[in-house]
Amino acid sequence: MTIQLTVNGAALTVDLPGDVPLLWALRDGLGMTGTKFGCGVAACGACTVLVDGAAVRSCQMPIGEVTGQITTIEGLGQPGNLALIQQAWIKHQVAQCGYCQSGQIMQATALLAENPAPSDSDIDAAMQGNLCRCGTYPRIRAAIHEAAQMMKAG
């Protein structure tokens, strides 16, 4: 079954059954492996992408039902052309294994779009669905505050 998706501004076609979740269409169908598989049941946040700017768990969204603009980590910024939030992540040396970080960054991007100056408890509330087994939470928190500052400074 051929399905049209708009990913990072590009119209793309995948040839997979309509009940396949967006996560797997990205990873297996399109070879866009920046979005990660962690649990498959909406319990870890590793698969987080933006659909029309809102953070969603792509492991829970059948491709047949996706409507809207999808943004993945690849569309946020790349080496040499980093988004502010990625610069903050690098400044705070957040990643350890790094496997959860695509999801963390996408979730934090959605948070900052909605709330440009989040408090610690705003961060807790927004990020609670994103697991990090390496325990990078303190540096994630610092990087989100930093990104908020950077955005404010323009």
Binding site: D28, T35, I90, Q93, R139
Partner: protein, 748 residues
């Protein structure tokens, strides 16, 4: 490749002499120089197994695997320090399976003498022991040994490369090499050359002597270096094993017997074939694989295959398993690694303090589920991509599984989405190789579902401990610890190597027998249980168990003595090991220990000397309307020489989070011989909102100069007892059974 012979010659000269007198291993094997596995390619000249000179910089070949611990950055910094390249010119890759990448650091983990005694002795390991990692081609990442093994090796690799490049420039200019300088990837003299210009000529030039730089001149070592993998990991461009993507590849998953080790008596693939996108169900003998157009369809279909599973040879449920483990106490102790003074006589005086503790099995649950990509090509060679901690062993196991010679197998070791000891096993690569055998010519990515990853793990063992102690006034005069535990090391080595060395099982007592408490009568025993649940190495291994037992019990003794628990520990340690006492004093001062005690709050302290690094932690907890919260944590550690403070801070923090996750709610349980917990909703780690804030202090007093303790694991062992001790302080209730979330009400 000639100039790196120097490195091994230097390291093994002493050894050759030592073993020439007829020791167990042949002189030839020991002194033999492992071949350089790297080959020159256009624009890339390998000067030794660790250094490739490229047109625009240097590629460091890391002998250890990157699982998040930052080792690739530190290993590259060791090379760069001597090679005089700018940090922006440095790249790092993982080396292929090869003896040259043996881990010399493992020798630090082979002694049964407590490290607080070893660390201050001169580094003259028994020469035979020192040769073991090389003789057995131990290309292993684990035991918090990466920087230790690389400390001399990687600096020498950089220094010999630098001197060879200088020699090449000297030849061109007709001057002696000591008239030349090196800087930012250039040799500078009357005329200057980039390293790339000189690399081809340098290959043949062996430097006559390789002085290593004095630490006072270090530019990179001892400083927080920007991690070389940070940009890739912040942009989704880091290539984990699971991200391997090849044109025309198929996607598969596996399903093995949940009654671990039981047979597969038969299966019906028909229901799986009804799922759209499914192409094939493969009989793997001990389970099945489903191949599909995408991973999700494969996972859905695998769950539908009807399989007749045989039974495992262990008890049906966790309760019966604990009964089996407890039985080990009836046998004589087989692992008594400490027996100071006369415990029995002292305890016979009566007035004893006694306690029993229990801990469950634990899963590794790394964020990246197990996976491997395999491709059996038309020319009969096999190529594998699999994050792993033991490349030579993994490659050889894959070769054997598909009936190929090892030289027909290429194994890539991509960065890993966490390991924590859970990627030591060869199983994922081997199963992927078997799937590839059935798909000859087509690459296939095999991904474990989270459920399969969790229920087919090799677990941290469950265990029971009984401790007895005696006080004379406020002083501890005797301590006798006994653990009953199935041996993770024997279980894993039997599975991977087909044998396990005899003798005491360090893992069942480490973190207990080897602590610098100057209790005059101190005995610590392991009783190995015969329970046959599959086990593995879990971050900090036996220390994760025994630190909970011992540090909870020390707290109980302090309470019985009416003493402050931190001061009680400090007094027992001061005369025995000053650096250990210093980390305790440091964590006391950082946390403002005395002022932490106030209504509504609890404070707990714990200590563990593991992997060469004494580490003390203080944890603050608070009673809130939503339940108990862990609010603030302080860590003081002393790894001796600290190569990268930013990475050490991250590892200490992450390791404590890992330990606290397990302490609050980590438990793998069994029912009907199957693991009950299957995903993060029932094996729940800490999240952003219930992780405390951290402050970390790194001291550098331990051992003689050059002593390096590990940093990836020592932060885990004190976490659980620090929490249990804080909960006691808060509530007056002593949690003697993990996870503590069973007895205490934590805020979600």
């Amino acid at each position: 490749m000639a100039n790196w012979k120097k490195i091994t010659r230097r390291s093994f000269m002493v050894l050759g002499a030592a073993v020439a007198g007829g020791a167990a291993f042949g002189v030839y094997k020991v002194t033999e120089v492992p071949p350089n596995p790297l080959q020159a390619a256009a624009g890339a000249v390998p000067l030794n197994p660790w250094v490739i000179i490229n047109a625009d910089g240097v590629t460091v070949i890391a002998p250890r695997a990157e699982m998040g611990q930052g080792i690739s950055t530190t290993l590259a910094a060791l090379v760069a320090e001597e090679l005089d390249v700018d940090w922006a010119q440095v790249r790092v890759l993982h080396g292929p399976p090869a003896q040259a990448y043996f881990n010399a650091g493992f020798v630090d983990r082979m002694s049964n003498v407590p490290d607080f005694i070893n660390a201050s002795a001169p580094k003259s390991h028994n020469a035979i022991m020192a040769a073991v990692p090389k003789i057995f081609s131990m290309q292993l990442t684990g035991g918090s040994t990466g920087a230790i093994g690389g400390f001399e090796q990687m600096r020498l690799a950089g220094a010999t490369a630098r001197e060879a490049l200088k020699a090449a420039a000297a030849q061109r200019l007709g001057v002696s090499a000591d008239q030349l300088k090196t800087e930012a990837g250039m040799v500078i003299g009357s005329q200057s050359f980039t390293y790339a210009e000189l690399a081809e000529e340098a290959v043949a030039l062996v430097p006559s002597d390789v002085p290593l730089r004095d630490p006072s001149s270090w530019r990179y070592l001892g400083k927080p270096m920007p991690r070389l993998d940070m940009e890739a990991k912040s942009t989704g461009t880091a290539q984990f094993g699971i991200d391997t993507w090849l044109p025309g590849m198929k996607f598969a998953t596996v399903r093995m017997n949940p009654k671990r080790g039981g047979a597969m008596k038969g299966f019906d693939p028909a229901p799986a074939m009804d799922i759209a996108g499914v192409e094939k169900v493969i009989d793997l003998g001990t389970g099945i694989a489903v191949v599909a157009s995408n991973t999700w369809s494969a996972i859905q279909a695998a769950a539908l295959v009807e399989i007749d599973w045989g039974h495992a040879d262990y008890p049906t449920d966790s309760e019966k398993m604990m009964v089996r483990i407890e039985r080990a106490f009836l046998e004589e102790a087989d692992s008594r690694l400490r027996d100071d003074g006369d415990v029995q006589t002292e305890l016979a005086k009566g007035g004893l303090i006694e306690a029993e503790y229990r801990i469950p099995f634990l899963a590794h649950a790394a964020m990246e589920p197990l996976n491997a990509v395999a491709w059996l090509k038309a020319d009969g060679t096999l190529e594998i991509w699999c994050g792993n901690q033991a490349p030579i062993m993994t490659r050889d196991a894959c070769a054997a599984a598909v009936g190929l010679e090892a030289d027909k197998v290429t194994l890539h070791t991509p960065v890993m989405g966490g390991g924590f000891g859970g990627r030591t096993d060869t199983v994922p690569a081997v199963l992927a190789a078997k799937v590839a055998l059935e798909l000859r010519g087509t690459p296939v990515k095999v991904t474990w579902s989270r459920e399969e990853d969790m229920t087919q793990d090799y677990y941290r063992p469950a265990a029971i401990a009984r401790l007895t102690g005696r006080l004379d006034g406020q002083k501890a005069t005797a301590l006798w610890g006994k653990t009953a535990v199935p041996s993770a090391a024997r279980n894993a080595l039997n599975r991977m190597l087909g044998f396990a060395p005899p003798g005491p099982d360090r893992g069942s007592v480490e973190g207990g027998f080897d602590q610098p408490y100057g209790i005059p009568n101190y005995r610590y025993d392991g009783h190995i249980s015969d329970l046959s649940v599959p086990l593995g190495f879990w971050r900090s291994v036996g220390n994760s168990m025994n630190a909970f037992f011992l540090e909870s019990f020390i707290d109980e003794m302090a309470h019985a003595a009416g003493a402050d628990p931190l001061a009680f520990r400090l007094e027992l340690m001061e005369a025995t090991h000053a650096p250990s006492a210093a980390v305790l004093a440091k964590v006391r001062d950082m946390s403002g220990w005395d002022a932490l005690k106030r209504p509504g709050f609890g404070r707990g302290v714990a200590f563990c000397y593991s992997f060469g690094t004494p580490t003390a932690q203080v944890l603050e907890v608070q009673e809130t309307a939503d339940g108990i919260r862990m609010t603030r944590a302080w860590i003081a550690c002393d790894p001796g020489l600290a190569l990268d403070p930013s990475i050490i801070e991250a590892q200490m923090t992450g390791a404590m989070v890992y330990g606290l996750s397990a302490a609050v709610q980590g438990a793998i349980t069994f029912a009907d011989q199957q693991v009950v917990e299957t995903n993060f909703y029932d094996y729940e780690p800490l999240r952003m909102q219930n992780t405390p804030s951290f402050e970390v202090a790194i001291l550098q007093n331990n051992g003689k100069f050059g002593h390096m303790g590990g940093v990836g694991e020592p932060g885990t062992p004190p976490a659980a007892p620090a929490l249990a001790n804080a909960l006691f302080d808060l509530t007056g209730r002593r949690g003697r059974s993990l996870p503590l979330g069973q007895e205490f009400d934590f805020a979600a």
